[in-house]
Point group: C2
Chain length 621, copies 2
């Protein structure tokens, strides 16, 4: 009966558990296969490359030269001029003395120059993390009433952040990051930008009393409740600074390309990058001069105040592991670590920002070393000069930076292309704006996971028909020209089959059969063969295989023969182990739909012939 | 340049949001499409069929006759004889007066006869739920110190269970059930069977003091701590009863078919079903007679004690909504509802038990009505007779029922076929046995979901080669005979592409290219075309599309041309909306790999010819 020309399905012996498990682990934790290139190297070279992999410094340093240094020097100085005002500003955001913002920009660049793998990234302070730390730790210790305790708790929280991020790296748990959808990040960044901007209204209006909450309602409430504290002088200066900063950004981003590639072409004029990079420093210097000469303090414009000269004092002895505060510091550390990572990806994904350092002209991570040295010089000699920086200037710098993080275009794009993605994005955006940063993030991640699980629970299936004049079988809905095959129903299943969708798949397949038989009233069009194309089914579990067994039993009772087309290696292995292959017979497995259909036609035809023959026989009798 | 004979990809206009959304909702919540058959009916017929769908009673009652009733009568009586001892036993398990077990078996069969959709299922008490209720509610109110409060809280919890299950039904949230893997259910049933068996050691040994914990360690500890209370008379009677019950089960299940179809063939002798169904009643009757005539109470064999005559008194006025107890009753109600559902599926899935009622000879849900009437008669007249039932007989009945729920064969099968499924099963089994029922269930469900998410995060991808003498392209790993195409890399992606796996897919594709170019040192074998076969990709989100855009940019920089083969309708719609289709050009979309390869070869060939020609030109010059 079997068509002799058909290509055979390969029923090789299943791989051993250890082999399959090792392969799975490798794909799960080392998807980038970092050691692939070293496989064929000599042991000594292998060691060298491994060290270079973990400490990229050894890769670029030997080939470094003075020509490259010229670029890195300029880049380093540019970044420093951005890092100083940002450091001071974000320290204020975290409610800690401004000098700690400068400390934070001094050591990390050196560390990154040694261990960092990207030559385009610059290291710096992150606004969302600063705000998050002050929000979380501030709930337990007041920065006003007990600033020392508050500061030490912040130290401890950042310590836990470091431990947590190191652990993530060593355990190769970057996979966690895969579960943050782009839409979540867009919404989260936008939301944090909004609440950080609103926080700046305090500085802008020169307010003295404010709220510790971060949500839109509380903050706007606090601003309007303290109308009597508003200082117009402060507001005017702030608006001028903000306008200047926004103008330099505008210069840079003009014209924005309004097409699909806009993410990669946003910065049409990279040569002008230094203008927007240096602008915050200009604001600080102008602000200092203005405050110094105009005695701004007397006109209601608050200044930063004393900044101590000197490098970071060691702070390890201040870590506070008091069980009373441990839960809050650990929690703050964990969330900050996750959010820093999320921001890192957001920055990595949006090329415009990722190339910051690159636009600044840098060629290697040496620019970070330059930045570190510049920060050192600043701390040693220049720090006291910044004492006159008006708070309103810092607020303007933060606001300007944050306004750039609200990606309206992307949100509109999401709305147009994928409504569910838009909802995920809005959950983060509105959740962060109106409730709190962690609630917003969790809401959005929860929705994204729910969607992932729905994909999994309701996989797409479709009926295939034959495209005329070809051996191709395609979705009849998508290609209305494709023709069904008489007596044969061809279904294509997609995605893994397992517990979460096996019941659905059984129902769906049976429904297709019911629909098919409902359409044709005549008894001749009855389905005799069901072909399941499993090309797109990448894996299966026990519940899935049992569903197939049950399906076969049901089909048997309806007189329909089940055949499997092109099962993938993992699926075929499990089917063989579970004896499903034996149950339906190896001859029911086909390599292509065309093969299977030919064979089915053959059996359809032969059964008809037999029937006709027996009729003839009866006639003869 | 383009091959004129190629079949075209169908770039129809994307469906509107409303259409796609409606279709998605329908597939998610109504996968069985219950109203499909009614679509073409007249309005009156439609109404009739809708009523019949919700109240199946109207479907079978009009055709009911006396011949069918003969079978149902026998079936109903058989089930009653099983329900009475089970009801009393499980009430003891829940620490409530035994009469409530009988009450619980009286009303529900009538309700099920009206609304139930399966004619093979019998309604009864569930051991796991009884234990769970006593464990959860017992933590807040002691059944010994304040039995009335405890009883009322149990009422309230079961009330919430009902509300919860009704809500699940109305909201079509049966999808929740899809997330319980078969392995989870096997492990959970086994684990609860173990702990319920151990609970029976109290009755078996005639202990007076015991523990309220359910885990193996606590229970065995309690049994051995109270060695002084052990009564050998009780143990001997218990073991005799248990041996009898197990023997009747053994009769029924012999021989067990040891093949793949064992789930469907376990009961080789359905005619003997009534022996094992009636056995518990025999034990109760013999036990009562023995206790009555031998004055068993005086020999340390405890008896059930007073059972009031009469039907269920209304209990709605005893529902306790005191805020103090509300959290515990709501929680107990929710978990019980979920677990009852899980057990329902487990029973539905394991045919042996599902067919219980069917084996007993029933033909329609009328058997439930018979059972209800039998229970009524029992309550009205016979209940007091059961007061002499020895507790040890109840323990033997429960133990025997539970021992049948531990599915060793299935666990061994899981171990052989799928190690991860085995781990999921063991998590439930050991979690329930050694920690608690809810922790065990959550552990197992968590692991199963983790696996689902890993499937999603690390989808299978493979390199395709051409199978000689055909136009088929298959996994080169699975079919070592398939040959790669010079200059063209064909990759097949499976499962939905979205945020959780887009980074991985990008890395994986780039790694394939790196590997390919690493293999061939000669410059002639360089990849010029990358074909992505998306037949198995059932959906995509924004992050996924952006990954494709980025991939294309990277490929461009390497001089590799990206083409897409056979995108499915949902994927093509999103690609068109996101302008990806325009970005890479409609001519880069192919309907089949063969088409795409032919076209690539054409362009490869022509570029080579051009090169040769230009070389010739140079020679001429």
């Amino acid at each position: 009966m079997a068509n002799p020309s058909r290509q055979a399905v390969n029923f090789a012996a299943p791989r051993g558990f250890a082999t399959a498990f090792k392969a799975d682990c490798k794909e799960t934790f080392f998807p980038d296969d970092p050691f692939h290139e070293m496989k064929h190297e000599k042991p000594l070279n292998k060691l060298k490359k491994t060290i270079q992999y973990f400490i990229p410094l050894f890769e670029w340093l030997p080939n470094y030269n003075l020509r490259l240094f010229r670029y890195d020097l300029l880049a380093g100085i540019t970044i420093t001029s951005l890092a100083i005002p940002q450091g001071i500003s974000y320290a204020k955001l975290a409610n800690i003395p401004p000098i700690y913002g400068l400390y934070s920009s001094f050591i990390p660049p050196f560390v990154y120059a040694i261990f960092g793998s990207s030559k385009h990234l610059a290291v710096g302070t992150v606004a969302a993390c600063s705000l998050l730390l002050s929000e979380t730790v501030g709930a337990k210790a007041s920065p006003q009433d007990d600033p020392t305790l508050y500061l030490y708790l912040i130290f401890t929280a950042t310590f836990f952040t470091g431990i947590f991020q190191t652990a993530l790296g060593f355990l190769r748990l970057g996979i966690l990051v895969d579960f943050l959808a782009h839409s979540t990040i867009t919404g989260f960044m936008g939301g944090t930008a909004i609440i950080i901007c609103l926080q700046q209204l305090k500085g802008m209006f020169g307010l003295i009393h404010f709220t510790t909450h971060t949500d839109v309602v509380s903050v706007l409430g606090a601003v309007f409740r303290h109308r009597n504290e508003w200082r117009w002088e402060s507001a005017v200066v702030g608006i001028i600074f903000l306008a200047f900063l926004q103008f330099t950004r505008y210069l840079l981003s003009l014209p924005i390309a309004k097409d699909v590639d806009m993410y990669f072409q946003r910065q049409k004029r990279p040569k002008l990058f230094w203008v927007s990079a240096i602008a915050p420093m200009v604001v600080v210097v102008v602000g200092c001069l203005f405050a110094f000469f105009a005695h701004a303090e007397k006109h209601g414009i608050q200044i930063v105040g004393e900044l101590k000269k000197g490098l970071n004092p060691p702070s390890i002895q201040y870590l506070n592991f008091d069980p009373q505060y441990l839960p809050v510091t650990v929690r703050a550390g964990l969330i900050t670590g996750l959010i820093a990572m999320a921001e890192g990806i957001a920055i990595g994904r949006s090329f415009a920002i990722m190339k910051m350092n690159f636009n600044a002209g840098c060629r290697t991570a040496m620019s970070n070393v330059v930045m570190g040295f510049c920060m050192m010089l600043t701390l040693l000699f220049l720090a006291p000069l910044f004492r006159y920086t008006p708070l309103v200037a810092l607020s303007a710098i933060i606001m300007s930076a944050m306004l750039g993080l609200i990606n309206y275009d992307e949100m509109i794009h999401l709305f147009k292309v994928d409504k569910f993605d838009f909802v995920i994005c809005m959950a983060a955006f509105l959740g962060v704006s109106f409730i709190s940063m962690d609630v917003g993030l969790m809401l959005s991640v929860g929705l994204a996971l729910l969607r992932a699980l729905l994909y999994v629970a309701r996989p797409a299936a479709c009926k295939l028909g034959k495209i005329p004049n070809s051996s191709l079988y395609r979705d009849t809905e998508q290609y209305p020209g494709s023709a069904p095959i008489q007596g044969v129903l061809v279904l294509q299943l997609g995605s893994p089959i397992y517990f979460a969708n096996s019941t659905y798949i059984r129902e769906r397949v049976l429904r297709y059969i019911k629909e098919e038989q409902g359409v044709s009233d005549s008894k001749t069009d009855i389905i005799e063969h069901l072909l399941l194309d499993l090309s797109g089914v990448s894996s299966i579990d026990m519940t899935g295989i049992e569903t197939f067994l049950e399906l076969r039993r049901i089909l048997d009772s309806k007189g329909i023969k089940l055949s499997i087309v092109n099962p993938r290696i993992e699926v075929l292995e499990k089917m063989t182990l579970a004896k499903f292959t034996d149950a339906i017979g190896k001859e029911s497995f086909y390599l292509s739909i065309e093969d299977a259909v030919q064979n089915c036609r053959f059996s359809l035809h032969s059964s008809k012939t037999t029937m006709e023959e027996s009729l003839n026989d009866q006639n003869v009798v």
